[in-house]
């Protein structure tokens, strides 16, 4: 638990540095008092120092809110890491990201459908991504707990990782993150085909 708490607080720092935590004062949802983040926070009485997905509402496409995060100071080329997400329909989405960005929350920021049910606490496998082979080896070894979660992921492949555990570094430039196509694969008898 201490390890995950440490991960969580360092994630909070990463989020602040990469400016994923929004400036609420300009947001129309905040002004109309219909920001889900505020409601959820006040109920749970937590500060942004705790790790949470405040940009979660982007996922259910009240999608007007991208603009703030678009140019998060990514002009400084030392800091830029270009990655490409390939969504479940095969569409390629190039993103100009920054060193330190978290692959799960970067996806959320850009409206890419990568679920993070347990909010990066290594308690689910919904953020599974396939990492381009050339970059897979550049990632640090997965924690035993990440491997445990990956073991439960449907359509596990050799190059599977959990998106919430990947932090961008300069050598990951050009990395491609493909979302598993776990669709049309549930047969009536519950048979799930092996990954291919």
């Amino acid at each position: 638990m201490a390890a995950s708490a440490a991960v969580r607080s360092s994630m909070g720092l990463t989020l602040r540095l990469s400016r994923v935590i929004p400036d609420c004062s300009t947001c129309p949802f905040h002004r109309l008092k219909s920001c889900v983040g505020i409601v959820a926070n006040s109920l749970r009485n937590r500060s942004f120092d705790n790790f949470q997905t405040i940009n979660r509402h982007l996922q259910t496409s009240i999608g007007l809110y991208h603009s703030e995060e678009g140019t998060s100071g990514a002009e400084d080329s030392d800091d830029v890491v270009n990655v490409v997400y390939v969504d479940r329909s095969g569409k390629r989405i190039p993103i100009k990201a920054k060193v330190g960005d978290n692959v799960l929350y970067l996806a959320h920021k850009h409206g890419i459908e990568l679920e993070g049910a347990c909010e990066a606490s290594l308690a689910c496998s919904t953020c599974q991504v396939y990492v381009s082979p050339a970059h897979y080896d550049k990632l640090p070894e997965p924690d035993e707990r990440e491997d445990d979660m990956l073991d439960m992921a449907p359509m596990l492949q050799e190059n599977s990782r959990l998106g919430c555990q990947i932090t961008l570094t300069p050598e990951l430039e050009g990395m491609e993150l493909t979302l598993p196509k776990v669709t049309r694969n549930f047969y009536v008898d519950g048979h799930v085909p092996k990954p291919h």
Binding site: A40, E115, R145, D148, D151, F186
Partner: protein
Amino acid sequence: MSGHKLLFSGLKFWTPGSNKWINRLHDGVKRSGTVSFSSGNPKVCIVGSGPAGFYTAQHLIKARQDVEVDIYERLPVPFGLVRFGVAPDHPEVKNVINTFTQTANHSRCSFYGNVNVGKDVSVEELQQAYHAVVLSYGAEGNRSMGVPGEDLAGVYSAKDFVGWYNGLPSCRELSPDLSCETAVVLGQGNVALDVARILLCPLDILKSTDITQLALEALAESKVRRVLIVGRRGPVQVACTIKELREMVNLPDTRPEMVAADFEGVQEAVNDLPRPRKRLTELMLKTAMEVPGEKEQERRKKASRVWGFRFFRSPVEVLSDPDHKRTAGIRLAINMLEGSGESARAVLTGEVEDVTCGLVISSIGYKSLPIDASVPFDSHRAIVPNIMGRVQQATGLYCSGWLKTGPTGVIATTMNNSFDTARSVVEDMDSRRLDVSAGKPGSQSISALLDERGVKPVLFSDWEKIDALETRRGEAIGKPREKLLTVEEMLLEARK
């Protein structure tokens, strides 16, 4: 004049970030008998507010900007097994509630708790009111062992035991007898491991979780010191996953106790196994066979509680004490394996073995039940027959979650399963296989029906009052929440 008012409300409806008051104004206009602007919107009804229900809703709302989703739930509180099934010491798994809360608060989603579909309103009535009905009410029954003595005091289903420590209202009076030294859990899936772990978990860990105070107090008095987790087949066939096994291995103040002979041939088979099974089996082998280092030996010597797997055993009878009132033991048939891997079968050898125990918990699977005679139901597999979530021989009827594929899988599995069903619904709307051109009354007509029948739904904002009360009560005693244990208490808070 009324035309003017209509126009005004119509314009308001399309304002982005619409709030609940706008919906109510809209309802007001509808109630006055005029045709509403939203009559053209496709309306979907989802029965069940667990992960399947919410993930289906989430995907529907995202896939089409015009779909309105109403989620009906029998209890006053949402979230299904995330609230009542996930173990109290697994709070991170419950984080998914935040996603569900966001969906529920979306302007095109409404939650109606305290509505018993099948009793308060029929599926046919729902089908008349909505363009599509998605059944995602899960599996509330359990598979029975079918052995004599199953009804003795001291025998419980894992479903009820888990419901008891998680505050499910129907399990509040379970009062499991924890006065014996040995407990036998039948089944070796994650639920069986959860039960074993909660039975043996040190109290100072449990007391800061959302386990009910009732269960905490009972566990504080518990005399159970040894839990055997029994399965029909061998180590390579266990249904649990490595995270749960690791938790047992690392559980403070406990030591493992296994039978070495059960692991014959397993070391040789390990390398050919697919990765998840391989890692799991290696951990089991290590725990069962490896001679521990000094530190671990010390730790095991001091441990006051014991747990272990027992393999190749099937229950044949629960044995009672001389008064025939309580469980005194269990008779297990000894099996051998035919075949190997996932498809290995347990075959009786004819030998039996008696194990002394006072508590038997059968964790051999949940089971879906039919809630409405008009819905096709495959009672052999206990699911609603479907293809890609479309219920066979029924238009406009769908299913998702365990009701669709059977009661196995974690939240991630259910998520994919539900997204799949939602995709089928959207495909059918887009292709006109589902006719959404004619307006449907949706919750308006259902609300009127329920009103006539004296049923008052609990809205999401009402649940938030219950949520806040539970959180406050928990804070007072150092827990994330102290759950309300009866429907009456929940309704009382909801109506405030």
